[in-house]
């Protein structure tokens, strides 16, 4: 019981469960196999991009560029494969690596030239989509390659590929954050950059590499985005960066840096997608959807912050037991040191 409540996945899992139950209550089309499949496809792009956004939040800054970077990268992929005679698989590789390159620019500006991440990636937000419009006279490129569809709509043993990407990339991200030096260093730099520096960690390099990884994940998301409609467009990915940040925040990542669990970001992305799906199934207008997502962000983060009180309430229903939980991270940051 205690372990469940104090887990960093608890709050995000509650949020996901609650919205799932709500959507199931409002429409019986939610559980249709076709819809669930559709859901997996929809969540994949946000979730994969959000891995990168989460890492950047972990080092204590923010990445506003992925939406625009996705637009540029889908155009790059389309131009490479359709007009510039690059092979399909090399084109995919170049796109992802180029995504890493855009991340490296963000990282260079932020970590080495010390421009705050919010500003440097705001510049990227503007510039990358601008560059995307410079290709093909600013028009989308359609019918990129017959091979491209299957990356998104293909299945193995009946399982859609995007679901497999999610499992593979999140498993890798979880392993990376938990079991590698760089992952630990990212948490350390986000928690206290000065102490990290004085502990012998190369702080700028760590920040730089977090941005590069975020760029690579944006590249992966861009390939899927292009595959979804077999096209590249400078208009793709609008608002994607905010959805990715929302996924991380609903997942409990602290914008102060250093705290959070990358797996929870998947729950955050699922929460957002399920809400959107449910609203679509109920034919709710887009404007209302934005409002609802806003409420979800507040609620999900609230549940995480109030979970001690919630746990006390639940445990009180079992007579003869007392709740004793360590304070959550967020509560602790508000507590003052106490002494007798």
């Amino acid at each position: 019981m205690k372990r469940i409540f104090s887990s960093s996945l608890f709050g995000p899992a509650v949020a996901t469960t609650v919205v799932t139950l709500l959507v199931m209550a409002t429409t019986d089309r939610f559980l249709l196999p076709g819809n669930l499949n559709n859901l997996a496809l929809q969540v994949s792009i946000v979730a994969l991009v959000a891995i990168g956004s989460t890492l950047v939040i972990f080092i204590g800054t923010i990445d506003l560029s992925p939406g625009s970077a996705v637009a540029l990268l889908t155009m790059l992929l389309a131009m490479l494969v359709k007009f510039w005679g690059v092979g399909f698989w090399p084109g995919i590789m170049i796109t992802i690596i180029f995504g890493g390159g855009l991340g490296a620019i963000n990282g260079m500006l932020t970590a080495y030239l010390r421009i705050p991440g919010f500003i440097s990636t705001l510049a990227g937000y503007s510039a990358y989509r601008g560059i995307a419009f410079m290709f093909n006279l600013g028009s989308p490129v359609f019918d990129v390659s017959p091979l491209l569809d299957s990356l998104f709509y293909g299945t193995v043993f009946g399982i859609p590929w995007p679901l497999i990407y999610i499992v593979v990339f999140f498993a890798a991200a979880h392993w990376f954050m938990r079991y590698t030096r760089l992952g630990r260093s990212i948490y350390a730099v986000g928690g206290n950059a000065k102490a990290a520096h004085l502990s012998g960690i190369n702080v700028p390099l760590t920040q730089f590499l977090a941005f590069v990884i975020a760029g690579l994940m944006t590249g992966v998301g861009a390939v899927l985005m292009a595959a979804r409609l077999n096209s590249g467009s400078p208009n793709y990915g609008a608002g994607l960066e905010l959805q990715a940040i929302a996924a991380a925040v609903i997942g409990g990542a602290s914008l102060a840096g250093g705290r959070g669990d990358v797996l929870a970001t998947l729950l955050g992305a699922m929460t957002i997608t399920i809400v959107q799906n449910g609203l679509n199934l109920n034919a709710v207008p887009t404007s209302t959807q934005g409002l609802v997502i806003g409420l979800i962000i507040v609620l999900a983060v609230g549940i995480d912050m109030w979970r001690r009180e919630l746990a006390d309430g639940v445990v009180r229903l079992w007579p003869g037991r007392t709740a004793k939980l360590p304070p959550t991270d967020k509560e602790k940051s508000h507590d003052l040191p106490s002494s007798v």
Binding site: R178, Y179, T180, R181, R184, S185, Y187, A188, G190, G191, N192, K194, A195, A196, H197, L198, S199, G200, I201, N202, S254, G257, G258, R259, P326, D329, K332, S333, D335, P337, S339, V340
Partner: protein
């Protein structure tokens, strides 16, 4: 005259000098939290024109007593008398109404108001409507002049340094004619010179008849200031104001329940083997011509005033400030320390003065705080061995006698002493051989200080070299083998500790001021 007679005489003189009228008296205060008796039959009197020191380790009941006086806690039994009449302090407002003013670390001032507005906060002199600004500024000027505080009443508070803001806070208490001014660890955030100013201010207030209760665990400071001292231990008055001579060894012994020799448990472990040699060190930040050697098992104390350059020398050694001249040799080999990472690799360890902002990771448990400087040591292939990490941390925690809760507990749940040990443990695990300790006893209670001194012994016993920076001359003289006196970023003298006395350390002070 032998020491015992001297002490008795001083005690008698103490008692006789207490001539001011009793303003506040606590009689047999008892306060329990569950089974813990935080205040066990505490009595003390506070007189006009007296600075009354209240000392004790963390957990001795000081804070509970203050909170009782502020009206935040209700005593289980006992009497509080004000001017001889029993009073009750059911809430902070009641305490304030009876003139109890408390100066905490966090000030009760408004940053964007002027000094004058702050001094009379809540009680601004007014006409029928509006505030009489001229009157208020005039009154503020008078109060500041009376206390000889060189601050303009028109200064905006936020523009003043913290030490000055504190003086405004104290002036505010004084202006409100407080019957008791409580100061709780007022020097924690102050530099040495600012402490002098503060003490001068408090002494002027004493002459004007103020009754001041001064709480601290900095014994070496308190003895310069107070008229009488009450010592608390485990919630009880272990030595009353009448009995306590103003004498460091006596007070410390009462406070920690052990003798002073145990307080500074110095071991001599210095060998002749050189572990670090520094030649002609210089940096852009004002370090110049620094030469010294450090031997295995030796504690080299850096003496000198705050701002004399001791920390800057430490920063240069740890690769934080780039060198402009000179070279550093570790075990005879020249090393290039261009970053803290390089310094760590060369075997240096650095305990920063401000461990909260520069040392600890508050997002990590104790385990991760310990291993962070040597993650390489946990690698199995490219993967961190988390099971080994737990073992390593458990070993360090046991070895340094850190609270076992630290293993999985977060840093804000640990005491200052335990936090300090966690950082020390980090460097032990990183395999450091040259330990730079910058004010390692800053802000930790006196029992934990002794623990830090024991750890220094342990470091030297294991053959490490220690560079020890402290503003407390007693600590420096007690724990060092040799002392390098630093002035204006230069080492002006290196001598065996037996050839250095307090005057030598202060002599440096005079020249800096000149």
């Amino acid at each position: 005259m032998n020491a015992a007679t001297g002490q008795i005489l001083r005690t008698i003189v103490n008692a006789m000098q207490r001539t001011g009228a009793v303003v506040w008296e606590l009689r047999n205060i008892i306060k329990a939290f569950g089974p813990v008796l935080a205040n066990d039959n505490v009595s003390l009197t506070l007189r006009r024109g007296e600075i009354h020191g209240l000392v004790g380790q963390n957990g001795s009941g000081k804070t509970t007593l203050i909170k009782t006086l502020c009206g935040a806690h209700q005593p289980d039994s006992g009497t509080i008398l004000h001017d001889g009449r029993p009073v009750r302090l059911p809430n902070p407002l009641a305490a304030r109404a009876l003139g109890i003013a408390t100066v905490f670390q966090e000030f009760s001032l408004v940053p964007n108001m002027t000094v004058a507005e702050n001094i009379f906060l809540g009680g601004w002199p007014g006409r029928l409507y509006g505030i009489d600004w001229r009157q208020m500024r005039e009154d503020a000027r008078k109060v500041l002049a009376q206390l000889e505080i060189a601050i303009s009443p028109d200064d905006v508070l936020a523009d003043l340094p913290v030490a000055r803001q504190q003086m405004v806070e104290i002036a505010k208490a004084f202006a409100q004619n407080a019957s008791m001014i409580i100061l709780d660890e007022p020097t924690a955030a102050l530099a040495a010179r600012e402490v002098e100013h503060l003490f001068a201010l408090l002494q002027r207030m004493r002459q004007q008849g103020a009754a001041i209760l001064y709480i601290s665990h900095r014994i070496d400071e308190i003895v310069q200031l107070v008229d009488v001292v009450t010592v608390l231990r485990n919630g009880q008055v272990i030595s009353t104001a009448e009995d306590t001579p103003i004498d460091i060894p006596y007070i410390v012994t009462k406070m920690i329940g052990r003798s002073i020799e145990e307080y500074y448990p110095k071991e001599r472990n210095a060998t002749s083997e050189v572990v670090l040699e520094v030649r002609q060190l210089g940096t852009e930040r004002g370090v110049a011509d620094v030469n010294f050697t450090l031997h295995r098992g030796e504690v080299l104390g850096l003496g000198g005033l705050l701002g004399s350059g001791r920390t800057r020398i430490a920063r240069a050694l740890f690769g934080i400030d780039p060198l402009t001249t000179g070279e550093i040799l570790v075990k005879g080999r020249r090393v290039s320390l261009t970053s803290p990472a390089a310094a760590v690799a060369a075997g240096f360890a650095f305990l920063p003065e401000d461990r909260k902002t520069d040392g600890l990771f508050f997002n990590f448990d104790g385990c991760r705080n310990i291993t962070i400087a040597n993650l390489r040591g946990l690698l199995r292939g490219i993967q961190l061995d988390l099971a080994r990490e737990q073992e390593v941390a458990r070993g360090v925690i046991e070895h340094l006698d850190i609270s076992p809760a630290a293993q999985e507990g977060m840093m804000d749940q640990l005491s200052g002493g335990n936090q300090q040990k966690i950082i020390l443990g980090r460097w032990l695990y990183a395999g450091a051989e040259i330990f730079i300790l910058d004010e390692p006893t800053q802000g930790i209670d006196i029992g934990a200080k002794t623990a830090v001194f024991r750890l220094i012994n342990e470091l030297t016993r294991a053959g490490n070299g220690v560079i020890f920076i402290t503003s407390h001359d007693d600590e420096l003289l007690a724990m060092s083998d040799r002392i390098a006196i630093v002035r204006r970023g230069r080492v002006v003298r290196i001598a065996n500790v037996n050839d250095v006395n307090k005057a030598d350390l202060l002599q440096g002070a005079g020249e800096v001021a000149a």
